[in-house]
């Protein structure tokens, strides 16, 4: 059975090679998180890794970092407001296109999804020129509008997926038992698609909180946003306090992520 043994050997070799690359990939996926968290506890002034010693000094510096706090607050305001707007507009649009056979529904779907593929920076610049031409001054409102446009696709994608997985029989039986459309929506549809909406809203919120290309153009000079503040701090001087901020963000993300996984199975909805 020499061919059999040769086959076994080739199977082992393939599994070993792909497995080794996969292991490297997994380490590379984990590395950034681990590195940032370890570095945030350094007692040094530089990004030297491994740190020369450990302390909480960079965390202790955060309560006095007013610029970062102000920027974080702005990001929080914009992310929550734009997510709310994206959910209200996006769920309606998802209902309209999810189970429709009409060609118009496909056209609308592509239209609403296009911000995902379009370079966000080009959209940011276009919006800046647009707002300045129609005489709307840059403010938190312009940021909310811009973020809602680029965030809406996430809400639509997860909501449409949730709607199309819903068995049609449920809606038909609800209707045949005499329930009105509105009643069926409130009592049958909404509870079933709520996890899908929540997952989309969560992704929309996180992407808004992290947005740079749109914020760069649509914020006014006095409105600082967290990722932009961090980016500029890093470009000027490789500031270690950014490591502490980053670790806090990683921690919050991880907690939110686990909660969302429990509530909505979010990792299955991000495909």
């Amino acid at each position: 059975m020499s061919t059999g043994r040769r086959h076994e050997a080739s199977t082992i070799a393939l599994t070993a090679v792909l497995g080794a690359i996969a292991l490297i990939a997994t380490l590379l996926l984990l590395a950034p998180t681990v590195v940032v968290i370890v570095l945030s506890f350094t007692n040094g002034y530089s990004l030297k890794f491994p740190p020369p010693g450990y302390s909480l000094r960079w965390y202790e510096s955060l309560p006095g970092a007013f610029q970062l706090q102000y920027a974080a607050l702005n990001s929080l305001k914009v992310a929550s407001t734009s997510t709310l707007l994206a959910v209200v507009l996006g769920v309606g649009a998802a209902m309209a296109i999810a189970r429709s056979e009409k060609a118009m529904a496909r056209v609308l779907d592509s239209f609403f999804m296009s911000p995902l593929i379009l370079p966000a920076l080009a959209f940011g610049l276009a919006s800046l020129i647009y707002f300045s031409r129609i005489g709307i001054e840059l403010s938190l409102l312009t940021l909310v509008i811009g973020h809602a446009v680029v965030g809406v696709p996430y809400v639509i994608r997860t909501t449409v997926a949730a709607l199309s997985q819903m068995p049609a029989a449920l809606l038909e039986s609800s209707a045949s038992l005499g329930a009105s459309r509105a009643y069926t929506f409130r009592r049958v549809t909404l509870p079933l698609i709520a996890p899908g909406i929540a997952a989309g809203a969560f992704i929309c919120f996180m992407s808004s909180f992290d947005n740079v290309p749109v914020s760069l153009f649509l914020r006014d000079a006095s409105t600082d946003m967290l990722p932009i503040r961090m980016w500029q701090d890093l470009e000027g001087r490789l500031d270690v306090s950014i490591a502490a901020v980053s670790s806090l963000m990683v921690l919050v993300t991880l907690v939110l992520m686990i909660v969302m996984e429990r509530l909505t199975g979010i990792s299955q909805r991000m495909r």
């Binding site: 086959h7 940032v36 309606g92 296109i97 529904a105 609308l108 920076l121 950014i242 963000m249 990792s267």
Partner: protein, 288 residues
């Protein structure tokens, strides 16, 4: 119609009218700005007084802009290929892992997608820096005398971009590999094909739609990855997003910034269309 009083679409669907608010919102704040961008790109000077194709002539002839564009697309391609290698191996191992490992792996893959890009890029600045992990380890083993320059290099940028975008590649590949009928691989082995032959002749071709979907997402994300490009590439390398930002913000040259944005946008759309066509072809190929 089941019942004479029922009007409109069947109970399982909703009227297209539900999309009206978003459609209006998109026309006002998405379509209109983009159309205005086209208009602005046809002004001849930053003062925006007369119309002409001057900006586009400048792009075609200045010998610089097209270079930046080509370099940006080339960066996207390099990143996508490295990402495909890492992502495919990861996805291939994922579907062969036991359920408990899959759960943990999925969290490890999805978590970076939700972590701030600035944070992830910052980590790579730490890893690649003069006093970073790579240099510390190499120095520890005595393999290098002086720290290597990794940050602000092309190779460093490609490696870190590939990692920042890895989840976008891995997720569609996992979906594609999970859909693959395991009997096909078994049949190929039973008929005497080696594991490598089964992999290249069965597994790879049948997961082509997933490969193309992953490549599309990775490519689109890495050419517009403004933060990673500027922090890891440094001031020496210029790519389209930064170029657009400089022209628009520092130089206040809106017509030229608009024109290069549109050229960039069209180039991205052309790449997307090619990927989509290939995807459709590969799906047809599999169905046949």
């Amino acid at each position: 119609m089941n019942s004479p009083v029922m009007k409109g679409p069947p109970v399982t669907g909703y009227s297209l009218a539900f999309a009206t608010p978003l459609a209006i919102f998109f026309v006002l704040f998405f379509l209109a700005p983009l159309l205005l961008l086209i208009l602005i790109s046809f002004y001849t000077t930053p003062e925006m007084q007369s119309f002409g194709a001057d900006q586009y002539v400048k792009i075609a002839t200045d010998g610089f802009t097209l270079g930046v564009l080509g370099d940006t697309l080339w960066l996207g391609l390099q990143t996508t290929l490295l990402c495909l290698l890492l992502g495919y191996a990861l996805a291939w191992s994922y579907v062969r892992s036991p359920g408990a490992v899959q759960k943990v792996l999925m969290l490890i893959i999805v978590m970076p997608l939700l972590t701030s890009v600035v944070v992830r890029t910052f980590a790579w600045v730490v890893i690649l820096g003069r006093q970073g992990i790579v240099n510390s380890v190499l120095a520890e083993f005595g393999w290098i005398e002086a720290p290597l320059k990794l940050l602000y290099t092309r190779a460093g940028l490609v490696v870190s971009l590939a990692n920042v975008q890895l989840p976008l590649m891995a997720l569609p590949l996992i979906t594609a590999l999970q859909k693959l009928d395991p009997n096909l691989e078994d049949a190929s082995a039973a008929l005497g094909a080696s594991a490598l032959r089964t992999f290249t002749r069965i597994t790879l071709p049948l997961t082509l739609p997933g490969i193309l979907a992953g490549c599309l997402l990775t490519f689109a994300a890495s050419i517009t990855a403004f933060i990673s490009q500027s922090l890891i590439g440094g001031g020496q390398m210029l790519f389209m997003p930064m170029y657009i930002y400089q022209q628009a913000s520092s130089l206040q040259n809106w017509p030229f910034a608009a024109a290069i944005s549109l050229v960039f946008l069209v180039a991205v759309m052309a790449c997307v269309t090619v990927f989509n066509l290939l995807g459709r072809l590969s799906r047809g190929h599999i169905a046949a």
